[in-house]
């Protein structure tokens, strides 16, 4: 947890966010939880060619209504 607290302090400073000690603790708690969530995703293999989702489109909008029923 101390590493997350140090991270919160330094990154907040970089972003011009003034946080008191109590805020740093609370924010670090949230960030530590998210680190756990991010770790799950970090274990998912992604190839270098796997680009970001573009402005997200779930599927191409259908050109025709033929399948529409």
């Amino acid at each position: 947890m101390s590493d997350v607290i140090a991270y919160v302090r330094s990154s907040a400073q970089l972003l011009d966010l003034t946080l008191d000690d109590a805020q740093v603790e609370r924010v670090a708690l949230h960030l530590a939880r998210t680190r756990g969530i991010a770790a799950v995703l970090a274990n998912t293999p992604l190839a270098p060619a796997d680009e970001l989702a573009e402005i997200f489109r779930p599927a191409p909008f259908p050109a025709e209504d033929a399948a529409w029923s």
Binding site: L17, H30, L41, T44, L46, F56, P58
Partner: protein
């Protein structure tokens, strides 16, 4: 009158059985009598509503054609711009902002369709929450049991419909914010395909994930209002639909020929007994095949969580530098934590989303519609910090979105249909009726089938 659905009102106005002004007056009276108990509304715009209703009545008096939603009263989550009203988005920090100079595009479209805007609704601040325990404007209370949450972030949108204050409302859904209040308040809700409805003129939360949609007491009202709101919008870069695909005429087509499955795995693990019972009822009524596996649901939720935090935090960073103390205490630390997240977490989540979409879309080669519970549990008491879910203690507030987040992350359209697993005197809980992207027609059709056989229903509370 308050028992009427929106389209019942439209038919009555059309036939001359009722005037639009009369329907509006019933709604205003209901709001004035009940809202002290529910706290669903933050702003009324009754004078405007009166003008809109009278314009409809004047059209009819002149025997001119009436628009499709003529006289239908509705209200919107207070992140929708209403001309002349400050768009608070549930916050205190936006109270000093000038009033909106124009209506949100969906409000413009509903106005053109003859609907009558009554006011703006309570919500979680900046839509970051699933409970509408708003510290600035007070918690929105669930009309089914006022000691309990209405869900969120569109809590006012669910509560006003359940309470019979208006038959229709609009909400937004980033990770479940239409489906969660629909589930907990016992009303129908539609989260369309990501990119279907324009978001122009609404205060954003997470541009990569934000959707808008209606809540109502009938599937017919959902379909009618959704059809009226459809249409391309080149000014919303996220609006991908290039034409209208009407649904209303097809909602009674039934389920013959449809391949319907019920999700297991993650969606079973994270569903409490009442959620599972509701799913069983819906699956039985629809003869659905059980135990269908949604790909990478936990990873989808994780990625949605990270993208939400990063984009939400970044959006609010300028205000957080100077006015953090004026933010909602329940979410301000999460906003700040999100703003500080390493870029790699966010980028990985967006890269994963591309693969996830392909896997989810592949699932719909085998299925037309999939079912899942909408929330893990029914509405919990206001202030609940933790709940027990299948033997595990979990944080109550974020857990309300456990079952909705993986679905919206793929962008699929969903109707949340309200079921009553403990009978009509118990609390409701919703079932998600999920279809492939751009197939709102199928989700509405199957939800309508549940409504038609009486498995799903949304009665007005207290009548």
């Amino acid at each position: 009158m308050v028992m009427n659905t929106g389209m019942d009102i439209v038919r009555a106005v059309r036939s001359g059985e009722m005037q639009a002004e009369e329907a509006l007056e019933h709604c205003i009276a209901r709001i004035e009598v009940t809202d002290a108990r529910f706290n669903a509304f933050t702003d009324g715009c009754f004078e405007r509503a009166l003008r809109e209703a009278r314009a409809i009545d004047a059209l009819r008096a002149r025997k001119e054609p009436l628009p499709p939603l003529a006289g239908l009263p509705y209200a919107v989550k207070n992140l929708f711009d209403i001309e002349g009203v400050t768009t608070r988005a549930g916050s205190k920090v936006r109270n000093g902002e000038p009033p909106a100079s124009a209506d949100a595009l969906l409000v413009q479209r509903l106005k053109a369709a003859g609907a009558v805007l009554v006011g703006a609704l309570n919500m979680d601040e900046f839509a970051y929450g699933f409970t509408t325990e708003n510290s600035h404007y007070g918690a929105c209370r669930n009309p089914r049991d006022t000691s309990r949450i209405a869900g969120g972030s569109s809590g006012g949108s669910g509560a006003c419909v359940a309470a019979g204050q208006v038959p229709l409302s609009l909400g937004s859904d980033t990770n479940g914010s239409i489906r969660v209040p629909a589930s907990l308040c016992g009303v129908f809700g539609l989260k369309p395909t990501f990119g279907r409805l324009s978001r122009r003129g609404t205060f954003p939360f997470v541009a990569s994930l934000d959707h808008l949609g209606p809540l109502a007491r009938s599937v017919e009202d959902l379909a009618a209002s959704y059809d009226a709101m459809q249409g391309p919008d080149p000014l919303d870069p996220g609006c991908q639909a290039t034409r209208v695909q009407p649904t209303l005429a097809g909602i009674d087509a039934g389920i013959a020929g449809l391949r319907i499955g019920a999700l297991g795995g993650y969606f079973e693990t994270h569903a409490g007994p009442m959620a599972q019972k509701a799913l069983d009822s819906a699956a039985s009524a629809l003869h659905a095949e059980r135990g269908i596996e949604w790909p990478d649901a936990a990873l989808g939720r994780a990625a949605a969580f990270i993208i939400t935090a990063s984009e939400g935090g970044a959006l609010h960073l300028p205000a957080l530098r100077t006015r953090a103390a004026d933010y909602e205490p329940l979410s301000v630390d999460r906003f700040i934590a999100g703003a500080l997240q390493p870029a790699e977490w966010y980028l990985r989540a967006q890269r994963f989303r591309r693969l996830y979409r392909d896997k989810v879309n592949a699932l719909f080669r085998d299925w037309d519609v999939l079912l899942a519970p909408a929330t893990p549990v029914q509405a919990v008491p206001i202030g609940t910090e933790e709940l027990e879910l299948n033997g595990m203690r979990v944080p109550a507030r974020p857990s309300m979105g456990l079952l909705t987040q993986p679905v919206s992350f793929a962008g699929c359209p969903v109707v949340a249909a309200p079921l009553w697993p403990q009978g009509p005197l118990g609390l409701p809980i919703g079932v998600q009726v999920i279809a492939a992207p751009w197939r709102e027609d199928l989700a509405l059709r199957v939800a309508r089938a549940l409504e038609a056989v009486g498995v799903a229903s949304a009665p007005v509370e207290g009548l």
